[in-house]
């Protein structure tokens, strides 16, 4: 079986003056895959992700997202990706329903689609009672689940999640991952950065970045074998220890 490649980078590099945030990273992500993008703070994960989403222009190298060129076809790329930022990315002073309608609206969903989608979404999340409440009044876990659902509302090919589960308890995180699996089952490719090593275990494949370079890339099982450890945590620790940069150099 030939796997369809949805993200392909070739020596993608971002420099800020003398500082090289990501240094010639080359990797592929396949359709329907849950791809974990790991790295210590300041390793260059966010920078790499921003380039892939079109938020930041690469200094050199190439990449295609969903088959579209990162330099020339940004409009097509934007239509085919979803994004959930590190900071929780809904409007607190809008109700649940208004948030769904707004984000659906800017992705150009029709009224009919929007109505159908928002009903579906509210049902799945069990937010019937809260749909007319301000998002600010929801617990953090709910907000994050809602933010994820909104990010995939327009059925993108790929969704980028930038540390989506920061600051929520393990149960909610588990529920959040259920949502991620559901999306992946529908064929949406998940590209996720995380700090939690248990989450890394949930991914199909993970890459570990150290000092702007991808040091390891494989399935969690293979990585554990390769580094002869029993957990990803140890793999990560072995690699991250080599880092010369610390966060304050960022």
């Amino acid at each position: 079986m030939i796997k369809e490649v949805v993200i392909k980078t070739d020596k993608l590099t971002k420099r800020f003056g003398d500082f090289i945030a990501t240094n010639e990273i080359t990797f592929e992500v396949y359709a329907g895959e849950i791809f974990g993008f790991l790295g210590a703070n300041g390793a260059g994960k966010t920078t790499a992700m921003k380039m892939l989403c079109g938020l930041s222009r690469p200094s050199s190298g190439n990449a295609t997202i969903a088959g579209f060129d990162i330099y020339k076809q940004t409009e097509q790329i934007k239509r085919n990706i979803g994004y959930m930022s590190q900071k929780f990315s809904l409007y607190e002073d809008l109700t649940v329903l208004e948030n769904i309608q707004f984000f659906g609206g800017i992705y150009g969903l029709s009224d009919k689609q929007l109505k159908k989608k928002s009903n579906e979404l509210i049902d799945i999340l069990g937010l019937q009672k809260e749909s007319k409440k301000l998002v600010a009044s929801l617990p953090l876990g709910w907000k994050q689940k809602l933010a994820f659902s909104v990010a995939v509302l327009h059925e993108p090919k790929i969704v980028f999640l930038d540390e989506p589960t920061g600051g929520v308890d393990p149960i909610i995180r588990r529920q959040f991952w259920d949502l991620i699996y559901q999306a992946a089952d529908k064929g949406i490719t998940i590209f996720v950065t995380t700090h939690y090593m248990d989450e890394a275990e949930y991914c199909n494949r993970i890459s570990i970045m150290v000092d702007g370079v991808i040091e390891a890339l494989d399935s969690p099982i293979n990585l554990k074998q390769q580094f002869t450890t029993s957990t990803i945590d140890e793999v990560f620790y072995k690699l991250a220890r080599r880092a010369k940069r610390t966060e304050n150099l960022k």
């Binding site: 239509r79 208004e98 800017i106």
Partner: protein, 368 residues
């Protein structure tokens, strides 16, 4: 277009759900107008007046009686000579002097026409106008009374003199000043804060990742404030016309057009500030310092520019509010047309274009 509408709708939700924004948006102009309008005119009770009665006849006595009975006035003393009036104004806290010529009653009865002179201290122009209006009303009341009793057309003609400030500068001057202040402050501050808020909340990234055009993001953010500012403008104008008797002598259309220009100028400045700041507090401070202070100082509505040192007068030229103030004063108070203000309009237009280009450029740069 539909995307654009859902975006603008969202911006209105933001505004209408934030009490602070609403208060700032609509509370401030009303408070300013009332404060400026009534802080000056409020105390017109028992205003000290003097009379100089050369006639000393029933008609003049009657009018003087009516004046002294009125709550607005307190008759300080009766003078014997015209020349004492100026001295009284300087020495005492007198607001108004009324002079009856000799043969006042005779003239009125036989010629059906009589003169009366009202002199006001116009250094406080609002008070002066109000007092004159009240005094004139009392005199007209008397005149009406006379005409009722007989069929002859009695006519008392009050001749009004404004001492110290004959053009009544300052009387209606603060309304254009407040317009400049409110429009600038609201637009600069609100746009800057609302864009920076999206950055702080991380929603800006989400918007930029979406296929929604980044420049449309800016336009959709600015449009609600343009609309709300125009409503604000209407409120200020209605308040000043109804409560403060400020005239709008010129074309309202021109007034609105020039104000829209200033609003766009302010929105561009707000965008420029938001591009260069990361937190709402910084944006707020910058807008306040950058707009409120210079507008108060350099517009000329609080402190006359003519009295400032030359370097400050030169600096004042940089601020769009100065030009807007001149434009609005010309339209509202002097009733002039576009031909009289095209130069100022051109300067305002130039500033706006410059700010707009600069802000769009920095915005684009930030995107890359």
């Amino acid at each position: 277009m539909k995307r654009f509408i859902s975006f603008v709708k969202k911006e209105f939700y933001h505004v209408f759900r934030d009490d602070k924004t609403l208060l700032m948006l609509f509370g401030m102009p009303i408070v300013l107008i009332l404060l400026f309008g009534f802080a000056v005119t409020n105390e017109i009770k028992n205003a000290q007046i003097v009379v100089c009665d050369y006639a000393k006849d029933p008609a003049s006595q009657e009018i003087i009686n009516k004046l002294s009975v009125n709550k607005s006035f307190h008759l300080k003393k009766a003078l014997l000579n015209h020349s004492q009036i100026e001295e009284e104004f300087k020495k005492e806290n007198i607001k108004l002097a009324i002079v009856f010529p000799t043969n006042f009653n005779e003239d009125l009865l036989h010629l059906n026409k009589a003169q009366i002179q009202i002199i006001a201290d116009a250094s406080d122009p609002n008070t002066a106008t109000t007092l004159i209006n009240r005094a004139t009303a009392i005199i007209m009341d008397y005149q009406k009374q006379l005409t009722l009793n007989s069929n002859l057309p009695y006519n008392i003609n009050p001749e009004i003199r404004m001492l110290y400030n004959p053009e009544l500068k300052g009387a209606t001057n603060f309304v254009p000043g407040i317009m400049a202040l409110v429009l600038l402050l609201v637009c600069v501050l609100m746009t800057a804060v609302s864009i920076v808020r999206e950055k702080e909340n991380g929603t800006m990234e989400v918007l930029l990742v979406s296929p929604f055009n980044p420049f449309l993001v800016i336009i959709s953010k600015a449009l609600p404030f343009l609309i709300l500012s125009l409503i604000n403008l209407a409120i200020i104008l209605v308040l000043s016309v109804t409560l403060l008797d400020t005239p709008i002598k010129g074309s309202i259309l021109l007034l609105v057009a020039e104000s829209t220009l200033l609003i766009i100028c302010a929105l561009s400045l707000g965008l420029l500030i938001s591009n260069n700041t990361k937190s709402q507090q910084t944006a707020m401070l910058l807008s306040m310092m950058g707009m409120m202070l210079p507008t108060m100082l350099f517009t000329g509505f609080m402190f006359p520019l003519e009295n400032m040192p030359v370097p400050l007068q030169v600096i004042a030229n940089i601020f769009p509010s100065k030009w807007y103030y001149i434009i609005i004063k010309s339209i509202m108070i002097k009733g002039l047309g576009f031909s009289a203000i095209w130069k100022e309009t051109l300067i305002l237009l130039g500033t706006t274009a410059l700010l707009l280009i600069l802000s769009l450029k920095t915005f684009k740069k930030r995107l890359e």
